[in-house]
């Protein structure tokens, strides 16, 4: 028996979320008195996982799996879980993990809890805390099945170093033709930009910026912080920014360490979507903007004056702290 964890990679390197789910899986393994096995599909250097408590890595290298395919990946994880007799399987909250997790849960007859933000309260009953009502509440969910699938919320647990051996072992799943019935024909992805899902810091602009031509300073602010850019719903509805940047209840969820909102008033739907972020900053010229009630830090002022000053000071800060 072991705790199985799906460690995702991007361009041959483990994602930060992979190290986070490994750290989390290690704590569960300690609780259950067992070990951690990771599944790495065309992944990074397995030794790296050892530093976060992984004892064994099932390395999958199969040309058919060189690009993500939810059904085939779910099938691979199912076979790995059975081989390892895993009772707990941990995945992240990436778009891919959320895609495959329900398929995996049905395959394993496992109960699935998504958006989990803390360690289980105990092994039996197995109860986890998760976000619900789009971050307006938490929900303690008991998973009653023998095998359990947990989707860990990004940045909810953090990284925890541990030293384990991380013994690598080749793993060849047996895949069926029907695993490949959904065929990817094109991918459109900005490789030079950090994605909202993976970003530590997100800088977001709202209607207060008055027009798409003013987004340069949002991008500059994001650049100096190594942040992803985002926007509010009206901004994407008006076509100022692409839909992929819309964050909020019906857009992308954000759970970054730092969220900086510029000219965003803070409608309840927007706040719901970004509330899982740890530290929130708002810059808005309207002191009555609801965002000030949700933020940790705020500046009441004209974004067109404040943001350029902030960029300049941040550049100094970065060069002094490099």
């Amino acid at each position: 028996m072991s705790v199985l964890v799906y460690t995702e990679s991007e361009g041959g390197k483990f994602k930060k979320a992979a190290l986070e789910v490994a750290s989390y899986a290690k704590e569960i393994a300690n609780m259950l008195g067992t070990t951690v096995t990771a599944v790495s599909i065309h992944g990074g250097d397995s030794n790296e996982l050892g530093a976060y408590g992984v004892d064994k890595v099932l390395e999958v290298k199969n040309d058919k799996l060189s690009t993500f395919n939810a059904k085939a990946y779910a099938d691979t994880l199912k076979q790995a879980a059975e081989k390892e007799d895993a009772k707990v399987v941990v995945v992240s909250s990436s778009a891919d993990s959320k895609f495959l997790a329900p398929l995996l849960a049905v395959n394993l007859n496992a109960g699935y809890a998504s958006n989990v933000v803390a360690l289980p309260e105990g092994a039996s009953p197995f109860k986890v805390k998760r976000t619900a009502f789009t971050n307006k509440a938490f929900n303690i969910t008991e998973i009653t099945t023998d095998v359990k699938v947990i989707g860990l919320s990004n940045n909810a647990f953090g990284l925890k170093e541990n030293s384990a051996a991380a013994v690598a072992e080749a793993f060849e799943p047996s895949l069926a033709e029907e695993d490949f019935n959904v065929n990817v024909v094109s991918v459109d992805k900005a490789t030079d930009k950090v994605s909202i899902a993976d970003a530590e810091i997100v800088v977001s602009g709202g209607r207060g910026l008055k027009g798409p031509e003013n987004w340069g300073m949002i991008e500059d602010l994001a650049d100096v912080l190594g942040a992803a850019t985002a926007c509010s719903k009206p901004v994407s509805d008006m076509g100022w920014r692409p839909h992929g940047e819309h964050v909020g209840q019906t857009g992308k969820p954000v759970a970054s360490n730092l969220y900086i909102a510029v000219g965003v008033s803070g409608a309840i739907q927007h706040l719901a979507g970004i509330n899982a972020s740890k530290v929130k900053v708002v810059i808005n010229n309207d002191p009555e903007a609801p965002f000030f009630k949700a933020a940790d830090y705020g500046i009441v002022g004209d974004a067109f004056e404040v943001v350029p000053k902030l960029i300049e000071k941040l550049k100094e800060f970065k060069s002094n702290n490099a």
Binding site: A70, S94, A95, F99, L100, P102, L103, A105, N107, G111, Y112, A113, K127, F133, N135, K136, F138, N139, I140, E142, I143, T144, T145, N181, V182, N183, V185, S186, V187, D188, A190, T191, K193, S195, A197, I201, K233, D237, H243, H246, Q249, T250, G251, L258, I268, Q269, N275, K278, V279, V281, V282, D296, Y297, I299, V300, E305, K309, L310, L314, F317
Partner: protein, 248 residues
Amino acid sequence: MKILVCISHVPDTTSKINFTDGDTKFDTNGVQFVINPNDEFGLTRAMWFKEKQGASVDVVNVGGAETEPTLRKALAIGADNAIRINAEAVDGFFVAKQLAKVVQDGGYDLVIAGRESIDYNGGMVPGMVAALTGSNFVNTCIGLEVEGDVATATREIDGGKETSTAKLPLVIGGQKGLVEESDLRIPNMRGIMMARKKPLNVIEPVEAGNETKAVQFQKPAPKGDVKLVSPDNVQELIDLLHNEAKAI
């Protein structure tokens, strides 16, 4: 093409979230219920398939009689038939089992569900329905076309989008992007009148267990007041973010 749109009956996005019975139940007192926004984008896309390609569109929901106004609204928007599975939606797996039965009995080609409901945010029903019915599945779907028995579906991925083709039957977990916000329809009087005459069939649930139990709810701890920094002293903000919040 036979389309089934799965409708979740959820509290309006601006509702105050409170709990009762020792924080074990959602307090519905004074709460306005609506079609789950992620489902509404899918329903609107289904209307497009109906008008342009002659598809038939049924809507389904798992819930008690109190959810019927939400199904009637979907009929008023233009769905042909509604089905209510008369059971409490205990968990995502239970709901998926009920929907899978309807999908199989009805021989649907395309099943559109929202990527998640905005209340429980489980995000599992569409995928589970696909797995239980052996259908193809695309999640976080932001674009969908169907030609003959082949669908082209675009999904949102972290940092971009990805387009796939798949044969029907297909289940999608939909969201905004399937149609734009401005394409959403408000039922007109004629639609509302017609919806009254459209069939709303109530069926009993199939035997199915649940795999998870929502045992308790908690509200987030109240947040402290915002710390305001003068617009003339942005350095202070940097210092606070670095030394106090440890966020940069």
